[in-house]
């Protein structure tokens, strides 16, 4: 029961976060210079009647707070508004652009964890060995290189020189999984390199301190195999900061998506955000930011729940 109650209060808090974010983006887009009506009308903007008609039509002539409340009401009904420029529903645009971003992000996170956990286990168990030093140095190097620089290098090597992978573009999964994976191989590699490096270093240092614990010595004195001790006794108590950062990295990834998607010309949320900002298509921008905020908040809510599953002591502390 304690867990459920904690979850409910946490959800309410998260709802508040989403509200604040939506308000801030709403105000921010109003504060930014440039009027969407200019973009929409072009030269016709000078015609006062037409301009006011359009403003009336878009609801832009109403007071700020009224606009916001109206927007919220629509959002609650699943209506994020219509793009000023393309006349598409924002939800429709998001639906089109989401698959590429989600695929890239989830794959990047999964692949990074899958690589980082064994690397960190090995590195920590054989700490200060040559392999450990190699892993640590490599991950340090990968953290230091900015993603876009690494991207340039990858494109030069694997797309231009060897022609193994396409340099740009995205093929949806519906058109064939192999082509799809080939199309995201390079952006995925860029993301995975950075993430794996961060996760490996983090988990390694936590594992090293866990391996000093008495309960590890106790587990060894039971005669259990080393692999079992690492996997069953050491990994879980060492994973708390890893999963915290794992959750935060979703946020960083969404931010990073803007650069990566632009660079590799992927039709994702990041590209959509940039296009819409440049066109002053504020409703779409708001939609994108709101979606990002909600997903980030939800992911971290799940991470909080994961904590209580991983660490029974958190359960008793009762949220």
């Amino acid at each position: 029961m304690g867990i459920l109650k904690g979850a409910v209060t946490r959800l309410l808090k998260l709802l508040a976060v989403v509200l604040v974010v939506s308000f801030l983006t709403f105000s921010l887009t109003k504060l930014l210079p440039g009027d969407p009506v200019v973009v929409l009308l072009g030269p016709q903007y000078s015609n006062v009647e037409v301009r006011e008609a359009v403003q009336e039509d878009l609801g832009l002539n109403k007071p700020f707070l009224t606009q916001y409340v109206q927007y919220l009401g629509n959002v609650a009904q699943g209506d994020l508004g219509r793009s000023y420029t393309s006349k598409f529903e924002t939800t429709e645009l998001l639906k089109q652009k989401l698959p590429a971003t989600i695929e890239l992000m989830l794959l990047a996170q999964l692949v990074s964890l899958t690589l980082a956990i064994p690397l960190a286990l090995f590195s920590a168990f054989r700490s200060n060995s040559r392999t450990d030093k190699a892993i640590t140095t490599a991950s340090f190097g990968l953290i230091s290189i900015p993603g876009y620089a690494f991207a340039v290098f990858l494109v030069w090597l694997f797309a231009l020189r060897f022609n193994w992978f396409p340099a740009i573009g995205y093929q949806p999964i519906s058109e064939g999984i192999v082509g799809n994976l080939r199309s995201i191989a390079l952006p995925l590699t860029v993301l995975v390199a950075g993430l794996t490096a961060v996760y490996t270093r983090l988990l390694r240092s936590d594992l090293i301190s866990t391996l000093q614990e008495d309960f590890i010595l106790m587990a060894r004195s039971k005669g259990l195999p080393t692999r079992y001790i690492l996997a069953r006794h050491a990994l879980r108590p060492s994973s708390f900061s890893l999963i915290t950062v794992f959750g935060i990295q979703f946020g960083t990834l969404i931010g990073g998506a803007v650069i990566i998607e632009q660079f590799f010309v992927l039709p994702g949320i990041g590209s959509l955000a940039i296009e819409s900002i440049l066109k002053r298509d504020y409703l779409v921008v708001q939609g994108v930011v709101l979606l990002i905020a909600i997903s980030f908040v939800l992911i971290n809510f799940l991470i909080d729940i994961l904590y209580t599953i991983l660490d029974p002591r958190v359960r008793r502390a009762g949220a």
């Binding site: 010595l217 069953r232 108590p237 029974p312």
Partner: protein
């Protein structure tokens, strides 16, 4: 592959000239420096010494638990004829849990906080004895019951933080006993517990030991703990055994000034309140550069010039089996003269011991 049944005499654990050194940036720490003893099946050996005397390192490294590139073990430690020094991790692991097991000092840290107590008992059973899940569970319930945990069915699905300190130590004992070891190494099993629980845990260990005909090494800093519960006592100081004797003989005929000082440092109920505690002045020596003579010499009330230059060997007293490492042993003419000489010279440690010997506090000594 090593075979287990080559030795048929009573000795279960034979330790000879055993050393355990640590290579540190500051130098080589000689934590255990030439220790020998023999433990028979079903017997109990108490290893006594103050913090830093090497007793915990001795217990852990005899078992082979201390690994790492900077750990250097030498000499010999034979369990049931099997040489443990130089044995591979795999060979040692086959003995851990099933032949020898350890109870650690602090049950707050020796149980894994994120695993249920039941699992921590059953994992060894399932791995070593290939029990099924339900068999292992039944066995775990029985073990918890035998170590005096009420309502084992509830406890088995609880996490360590839901149990009290005494309860947790009972669980670690159940874990150690799970696969039926012949040798139990208990490393200060009561130090971290409330005084009221200490006796219960010691009684439990003793009772289990008798029931299972298990040999036990009981490591402690408290002579009172080992007094009634051991067959032999080894007193350790600065990585060496300085006195080794059958328990009754040790208390009747203390030879080593260090043991005497340890005995007098135990507060007695019969003493009037506000009696000054008899601490042993000074600190154990640096184990990187131990004194070249007797290692206790810098703190010893009996110290003579010879003590600082020549290390006394372990020699047998007139009672067979009673070994000590001293040039001027307590209770001998040489010892009395040395103490009288130091007292006359006004050495504080000697004066205080002389006073105690002349006027035993509370009349118990």
């Amino acid at each position: 592959m090593l075979t287990a049944d080559t030795v048929h005499d009573g000795a279960l654990l034979q330790v000879h000239d055993f050393r355990s050194y640590f290579d540190t940036p500051a130098g080589i720490v000689k934590a255990v420096d030439g220790v020998s003893f023999t433990l028979d099946r079903g017997d109990t050996l108490g290893i006594v010494g103050e913090s830093g005397s090497g007793k915990t390192v001795l217990a852990r490294s005899v078992m082979g638990l201390l690994t790492g590139k900077n750990v250097m073990r030498s000499g010999s430690a034979r369990y049931n004829g099997i040489e443990l020094v130089g044995a591979s991790e795999k060979e040692l692991r086959d003995l851990w849990g099933t032949e020898m097991a350890m109870v650690f000092q602090d049950p707050m840290t020796s149980l894994n906080p994120v695993l249920k107590t039941g699992r921590q008992i059953t994992e060894g059973l399932r791995y070593h004895l290939q029990l099924s899940k339900s068999e292992a569970r039944a066995q775990a319930l029985q073990l918890l019951d035998s170590v005096g945990i009420p309502d084992p069915k509830r406890r088995i699905s609880q996490y360590p933080h839901e149990l009290s300190g005494g309860m947790r130590q009972r669980v670690t004992i159940a874990i150690a006993l799970a696969c039926g070891p012949k040798l139990l190494l208990a490393d200060e099993p009561t130090t971290a517990l409330d005084v009221t629980v200490q006796a219960q845990i010691l009684d439990l260990l003793h009772q289990q030991q008798v029931e299972r005909h298990m040999a036990m090494v009981l490591v402690t800093h408290d002579l009172g703990v080992v007094a009634g519960r051991t067959n032999h006592i080894a007193v350790m100081y600065a990585g060496q055994i300085v006195e080794y004797a059958p328990t009754t003989d040790l208390f009747a005929n203390v030879r080593m000034p260090y043991t005497q000082a340890l005995l007098h440092s135990i507060p007695k109920l019969a003493q009037p309140s506000h009696t000054r505690l008899q601490a042993i002045a000074g600190r154990p020596p640096d184990l990187i550069n131990p004194p070249s003579g007797c290692r206790f010499a810098p703190r010893c009330p009996y110290v003579q010039p010879k003590c600082n230059s020549e290390m006394p060997p372990l020699q047998e007293s007139e009672t067979p089996g009673h070994l000590y490492r001293c040039w001027f042993p307590v209770g001998t003419e040489a010892g009395r003269e040395a103490l009288a000489h130091n007292t006359a010279a006004g050495m504080p440690a000697a004066v205080s011991i002389t006073q105690i010997l002349a006027d035993p506090p509370g009349g118990t000594h």
